[in-house]
Amino acid sequence: MKTPAKQRIMSKFNLLLVARLIAQTFSVLLFLFLFIKTDYTGSDTIEYAVNILFRIDPLLAFCAMLAARTVIALLAPALVIVIFSLLFGRFFCGWLCPMGGLLDLWRTIWRIKVDNKKTKYPQLPLVLLLFLVICSVFGVPLVGYVDPFSILVRGLVQAVYPAINFVSDSFFTYTYQSLPAAVNLVTEPVYSFMQATILPFEQRYYELTLVSGFILAFLFVGEFFQSRFFCRNICPLGALLGLFSRYGAMKVSGGDESCGTCEICRTNCRMGAVDENRHIHLSTCILCMDCMVKCPKQIIHPHLLHNSARHKLRPEVAEVSVSRRQFLACLSTGVALPPLLGVRNRGGAKGGSLIRPPGALIEPAFLARCVRCGECLQVCITNGLQPAFFQAGLESVFSPYLLARSGYCEFNCTLCGQVCPTGAIQPLNLQQKHTTKIGHAFFDKNLCLPFAGGVPCIVCEEHCPTPDKAIKFNVVEVKTPRGDRVTLKQPYIVDELCIGCGICETKCPLPGRSAIYVTNTGEVRDPENQLPGADFDSYSGYS
C-alpha cells in the first residue's frame, strides 16, 4: 500500500467506526446470549425475546405474510428495520446483523486478504429475492432456506452447539473417569461452570446436523474467496434492504476525478460497493465507515437526499438490477412450481404424514409461515423435534416434526409455541396443550412383548401422561411361544384419550424399533385426518 494510506488520518468518522464495532460486538453477543437462553430454565415461560432476530427480519416477514396470505402481527418489529433502512440504508448489515458480524470477525481472525473490488455475482441476491417473492406469491415457502438468520441459527442449533457439547462432554468424561482426583479438582469445577453458563443442558442429536452444518460452514468458507461473500453474492435480505436503501433518504458521496489513481476506498470496501469511478452503490454499501475513515482526502461522506443539489448532480450511479430475462426465468419457475409440487404422489396423506409440534397450523398454513429457523428444535426439551429432510417434500425441508423414538412431546411443556417467531406453531396455554392431539399411538403386536413373547412389560402404560391414562391394559392368560401358560397385562389404547405425545414410543424398552409408535393420524389441526369413528369436538383454539 502507498505511504499516504499508512498515515494516520484524523477523520471525523473515526468515532462512527468505533460505534459500528461496538454495535457489531454487542449484537453478536446479544444474539449468542439469546441463543443460549432459548431453553427451559425452570419456568414454564421463556423469559427473553429469544426469537427477536427473526421478528425484525423484513424478508421473512414479507415472504411469510405473502405465502400465508395474512398479516402476522408477531412480525411487526420488522417494520422498524424497514424504516431504519429507508433512513440510513443498509446500516443493519454493517452494524447489527449477527451473521455479518461473525463473518467480519472470522475474516479478522484468519487475516484473510483477497481482491474485493468486484463482486462475483452482483445480481444473484436480487434475482434470489425476486424468486423467493414470486414463490411466496404462489404459495411455495422457500425463504427460510436462504435467509441469513435461518441459516445461522439452524447451523448453530443442529451442528455447532451440539458438537461443542460433544467435545467438552468427551473431554470431561475422560478426565473424570481416567485421570487422578487431583486433576478433577480443577476440571470438575470448570465443567460445572461451563454447564451453568454456555453449554446446553444435555447432548442433542439432529438428523440434519451435516446438512445444516455444511450450509453454515459454506458461508464462512466463502470469506476466503471474497469478503462478505454471502452478503454480496447470495443474501436476499441484504438485497431487500438494498432496495430500501437505494430509494431511501440517505446517500453517500464517493470520490471523483480529482482522486487520480487513488483507489483506497475501492480496495478496502468489504462489500465491493465502490466502482471504478469511486462512486458508491447504495444498494450494496453497508455503512461500515472503512472508506470514510481511510480516504486521504476525506471526501467520502453520507448526506441526506435533499442536500444532493448542493453536491452537484453526479452522473447517476448504475445500481445493480435484474434483467428482463432473469425476471422471466424467476416468474416461470415460480409459476411452474406449484402445479409440479401439487401433483406429487403423497401416498394418500394430503396433509403430509409428519407429526407437527402442538399448536402447529394446518399443514399448508404451517409451511407457509415456518421460516425454518430451528428455534423450536433448540427449545424442545426432549430432543424430540427434528428437522425434516425430503420426507414431506421440497417445501418442507428443515421444518420441525416429532421423531418420537428420539424424544417425546413433554406433557406440561409449551415452549415451542412460545419461541416460534411467525405463529406457524401457535402458543398454547397448558390447558390447551393437554388436550391438543398431535397424533395417535398404535401397537405393533408382532413386536410388543406381552403379545408377541408372553413377557410382562407395559412400560408405555407407566409413562402415558394423560391423567386418565390413554394406555390401559387387560389382564389375560396367554400361551407363551414356548408353550407355558402365563397371566400378564396386555396394553391397549383409548382413542379419545391419546394425544400422540409419543412418550410411549420413546420409552418402549425394545432395542431398535419400538413396539408402539405414533403417527399424525387424528391430529387436531387437520379435520381430514381424523381417526375412523372418532367424534372429537372441533378445536377452536387457533387464530
Binding site: 427451559y40 470431561f172 468424561t173 443442558f201 411443556c413 407395559i458 397385562k489 420409552k507 424398552p509
Partner: protein, 299 residues
C-alpha cells in the same frame, strides 16, 4: 427453628434414655416400623425417625449421606407422584443435625430432569437450605458404575449410580403410590431411580429384578412417604381426585417390612406385591407383618 430445637432436644433425650437402659432392652425397644400420622409433615417425619431411635443411630458425624426421594415425574406435590418435599426436608435437617458431611439427593427421572426437580418442589426446597453440603444433583451419566449382582436370580449385573453405592448412609424415601404393572410403587421400586441402563427391561420380570437390585442398593433406612397416596393412574397420576390424603410416614430399617406395611394402606396384602415376596424369599426383610414390631403414633 422451634421444630428443629424440639428435634435436637428429643435426640438428646433419647440418647440419654438409651444410655440409662441396658443394651439388651434398648435393642428390643427399637421398633421395626415406626408409623406416624399428623398434619405437619416435618414433625411427622421427625417423630418417625425419633421412634427408631433418632437419626444419630444411622448417621455418624462426617458421614456422606444419600437421600433418594422419588422425583421421577413432572408433577406437583399435591398430585402425589413424587415424594413430598417436606418429608425430604425433615430428613435433610435431621441428617445435617447429626453431623453429615454431605447430603446428596438425586433421581433418575422419567420426565425431563429439570422439570421434575422444579415442579416436584424439590429444587426450591434444597435451595432453601443454602448449604453447600446439600446437593440436588441431575443424573450425570459419567457416574454410572457397572455392578455385579452376586445374589441376583434374574439379573446379574446393572449400572448403578455412584453415590448410591459409595455413600455411608443411603436413605430411601419413596412415595407410596399406584403402579400399573407392579400394582404399587414403594421402596424397592424407588431404587430404579438410582440405576442407569435400559430400565424398562426390569419390567420383564419386575418383582424378582427389584429384589435382585435390592441386594446391592440396600438402604440404611427406608422412609415411605404416605402423606398422600396416589390410588389410580399411577405412577405419574396427574388428577388430584386420584389422591388420598393419609398424612402418614413409615420409617424402617427393614425395606421389605416398610413395603409390606405400605401395601396395606391400599387395601392390599403384602403378598400381592411381587417384589415384596421376592425380597422376603431372598431374606432381605420381613413381609409378615404379624412378626414385625410396629410402633404407631398420631400427632
Amino acid at each position: 427453628m422451634n421444630r428443629r430445637q424440639f428435634i435436637q432436644q428429643a435426640i438428646a433425650l433419647s440418647a440419654g434414655l438409651s444410655f440409662s437402659i441396658p443394651e439388651v432392652f434398648a435393642a428390643k425397644a427399637r421398633p421395626d416400623l415406626a408409623i406416624v400420622t399428623g398434619k405437619n409433615y416435618l414433625d411427622v417425619v421427625g417423630h418417625s425417625i425419633e421412634l427408631l431411635g433418632g437419626m444419630g443411630q444411622f448417621v455418624r458425624p462426617g458421614d456422606t449421606v444419600v437421600i433418594k426421594p422419588n422425583i421421577g415425574w413432572d408433577r406437583s406435590p399435591e398430585q402425589a407422584a413424587n415424594t413430598h418435599p417436606l418429608v425430604v426436608q425433615g430428613l435433610i435437617e435431621m441428617v445435617l443435625d447429626s453431623g453429615a458431611s454431605s447430603v446428596d439427593l438425586f433421581d433418575h427421572t422419567c420426565n425431563e430432569k429439570r422439570r421434575c426437580y422444579q415442579n416436584s418442589g424439590m429444587a426450591d426446597m434444597v435451595i432453601s437450605f443454602g448449604s453447600k453440603k446439600v446437593r440436588l444433583e441431575h443424573i450425570d451419566k459419567r457416574k454410572f458404575i457397572p455392578v455385579h449382582i452376586e445374589r441376583g436370580k434374574s439379573i446379574t449385573s446393572w449400572e448403578i449410580y455412584k453415590q448410591a453405592i459409595t455413600a455411608d448412609v443411603y436413605i430411601n424415601v419413596p412415595v407410596a403410590k399406584h403402579h400399573g404393572l407392579s400394582r404399587l410403587s414403594l421402596g424397592l421400586k424407588n431404587s430404579m431411580g438410582a440405576i442407569g441402563g435400559n430400565r424398562g427391561k426390569l419390567h420383564h420380570d419386575l418383582g424378582q429384578r427389584l429384589a435382585d437390585l435390592a441386594t446391592v442398593v440396600s438402604p440404611t433406612l427406608t422412609v415411605v412417604d404416605a402423606t398422600r397416596t396416589l390410588l389410580r393412574n399411577g405412577p405419574q397420576g396427574g388428577n388430584v381426585d386420584d389422591v388420598r390424603l393419609l398424612d402418614q410416614v413409615i420409617a424402617s430399617v427393614d425395606p421389605v417390612a416398610a413395603d409390606a406395611y405400605g401395601t396395606t394402606l391400599f387395601g392390599l396384602a403384602p403378598e400381592d406385591i411381587d417384589s415384596t415376596v421376592a425380597a422376603h424369599k431372598m431374606g432381605l426383610g420381613q413381609m409378615d407383618l404379624a412378626k414385625v414390631n410396629l410402633l404407631k403414633k398420631t400427632l
